[in-house]
Symmetry: C2
Subunit: 428 residues, 2 copies
């Protein structure tokens, strides 16, 4: 039944029935969680061979002893392999520690305090006390927003379309305001919408460096670069190639990691940019680190080997994740399809399903679900300052629970969506 | 022969003979290096069992899956073990990545930008544009100095005595100038002098928080806490106990790592402070990391087990290092003992021998040694801004080369010391 085709009487009947169901679910004492973008234990098991894979050999191909100090930007074999994940050249890569968030924080903070090039290019110098701003396609990733807020950078939301950020908006904004110094992008299987940026969007992003103010940088967090849920998932156009064509290689910082390839907490993160940019970053990096853990890099190279092996490994992840995503999507399609009560993404990869309720209901739905024992990502979390102006976006994270848990949680979720929608319709 | 008892004729004869020796050494084409405070491959081999030690078990005692996300400050077992290395309680510890330098940088930067407690305690707020200053006992560790310089913090050298920093100087300085916000300490087997801070010095350092300006912190880099070269090496008094007695637990940040216990580039770093301080640091840390590599923590806990096992392991390091230190000291004693040409430390632990030439000769000696194929740490490196006002301190790092290499390098070194000293005496 479509919400907008129901009579008030039908709605009231429905409301009564749903309220009954909600009460009985409340009494079921559920304790379920759809908040966490974490791999399941089954996925982590796929990489258990990492520990012990070195078999006593701690040297790279050139014979360097990886146990000792030295090497600020990673071992050649890791650069070679990880460059392919994010579609850049090995000489454009530097390897970090166990999380790309640390590299992103470092890149933003360095640009802010010390400059993207020399000291005069420090964003704080240019701003003379005024706000530095970043564009945030929304809905987006809360840790990107929190990082900026922590460093005093203001976030300007821009619309996320089906093919990536609304580039008309983006271009207009960066042209008009030179204090906009960055944009956050999760270009393939975007968090939370699963969007893959189109050829045209990627091309326009590569050209932002030519129209934005000085020292602007694209923060290209390609966290789900190889994290497909199905064969022949939509590919991401090569940003760096478009930058080369536009002469804007200095305007982009790319990020990736094996966090959701091997171990979420013990993987290897990496970033890429022009060699000129990497030299600047390494100069500053040398003051705060003795260099990343090269032994863990070697473990990863030995384990993931090459892109063929890596893609086979990712197919095993997909086989574990598919039934979980299917459980979410089946529930949404069956229970809310053509209901007029919400829309959702059906991603070809990544870690999330993004749901949009009717405006003004997300907080209410999350609260109702919590009341019946189902924890959802807080409404608003996908927007800067926790402020979803429509109060409609809810991020569903189905990787960590079991399929049975997801089915139970989704039964609660769709019920809450229905009940909240009907309550709202009747109150109107 | 003592330099000051030789006649000009004797000196000239000597000079001629040494010049001959120097020339023949130049022709020997040596390529030796005494610059690097790095463990040797033999030392690193002691920890080869780390990779593979988990045997497929990636959970801690409480059953937490250490492969996944979660845990900002380390696993309980690591806190328990590493607390003992730096003499604090487990609840005073947080675990970092593979290097303590990163934790130090983070602690200084957080204090500077975000505050040691609330936002009002940020050093930059208090300074209102004026310089923030740190005290640097000299000679000291160049990376401490470089870190401060990178963050715009001014360094004030203070004298290092045989029992630690000159506390009269230190107390006078911090009382007189509230913009002094920190002091660098390497309290046991100090880099490069090998000094172990005495009971009285430690006690006075614990009380600095009561006489310094607001938001002052001691940076206690206990890098060589368990790195003894002999049994019954001088112990370090417990700083935190003295802080508890003085009510100054908030005034100290302690640091340590397994970099020179297991793998220099793939160990585990940690820091300690009052739980109140740790809470502040963790709040800020959460914006730049998903948490440290817990799997590597578990490897270290399984490998090092307890302080008994750890100390046995350190004794194996000592057995490898002793002949190397002996090679340095034997050469110095035999060739320069009672010569009046220099003095040196005879450390009971740590990684260095600190040599002081006659004033004005360190740069010349380092240059001469380089001319004969022996690389020494640049003169001045042990002072802020590379400025050794006496131009006399040279850091010798004997852990990385073989004993035979050290013997050859030291033959060059003592020759250069003699020649430079005689040249200076004759020019006077």
């Amino acid at each position: 039944m479509r919400l907008d085709q129901a009579t008030p009487e039908q709605l009231r009947e429905w409301q009564t029935a749903l309220n009954e169901q909600y009460k009985s679910l409340q009494q079921a004492g559920l304790n379920l969680d759809l908040t966490r973008g974490k791999p399941s234990a089954e996925q982590l098991d796929l990489s258990n061979a990492l520990d012990g894979i070195l078999n006593g050999t701690y040297t790279d191909d050139s014979g360097t002893d990886l146990r000792n100090y030295g090497g600020l930007d990673g071992i050649p074999e890791a650069k070679q392999l990880f460059a392919q994940i994010i579609d850049v050249k090995p000489e454009e890569v530097m390897i970090g520690g166990n999380g790309s968030l640390t590299l992103m924080y470092f890149a933003v903070q360095t640009a802010l305090q010390h400059g993207v090039a020399d000291a005069d290019s420090a964003w704080i110098k240019e701003s003379a006390g005024a706000s530095i701003k970043f564009l945030a396609p929304v809905p987006g990733y809360d840790r990107h927003f929190a990082l900026c807020e922590h460093l005093g950078i203001e976030l300007i939301p821009v619309t996320m379309n089906a093919d990536g950020p609304d580039m008309d908006q983006v271009e207009q904004l960066v042209k008009a305001d030179s204090s906009i110094k960055g944009i956050w992008c999760v270009p393939r299987f975007s968090n939370p919408t699963g969007t893959v940026y189109s050829e045209q969007v990627v091309q326009r992003i590569a050209k932002l460096g030519t129209i934005a103010g000085a020292n602007f940088r694209v923060f290209w967090d390609n966290a789900y670069a190889v994290h497909t849920l199905q064969e022949n998932a939509t590919a991401l156009p090569n940003l760096m190639d478009y930058c080369r064509a536009a002469g804007t290689e200095d305007s982009v910082y790319l990020f990736g990691s094996t966090s959701k390839i091997t171990f979420a907490g013990a993987g290897v993160a990496f970033m890429a940019s022009s060699p000129a940019n990497l030299n600047v970053l390494k100069k500053h990096l040398s003051f705060n680190t003795i260099g990343p853990d090269k032994v863990n890099q070697l473990r990863h190279v030995k384990f993931l080997k090459d892109m063929g092996t890596l893609n086979q490994h990712m197919a095993k992840h997909a086989a574990i994740m598919q039934p979980r995503f299917n459980a979410v999507l089946t529930s949404l399609r069956t229970e809310l399809g053509d209901s007029g009560m919400g829309s959702w993404t059906e991603p070809e990869g990544g870690y999330f399903v993004s749901f949009d309720s009717r405006p003004g209901l997300a907080r209410e739905i999350v609260k109702m679900a919590a009341g019946a024992g189902v924890k959802l990502t807080p409404a608003g979390a996908t927007f800067p300052y926790g402020n979803d102006p429509q109060d409609s976006n809810i991020r569903l994270a189905p990787t960590y629970p079991t399929v049975a848990e997801i089915e139970k949680a989704m039964a609660v979720f769709v019920l809450c969506v229905k009940l909240a929608s009907i309550n709202q319709a009747l109150a109107a």
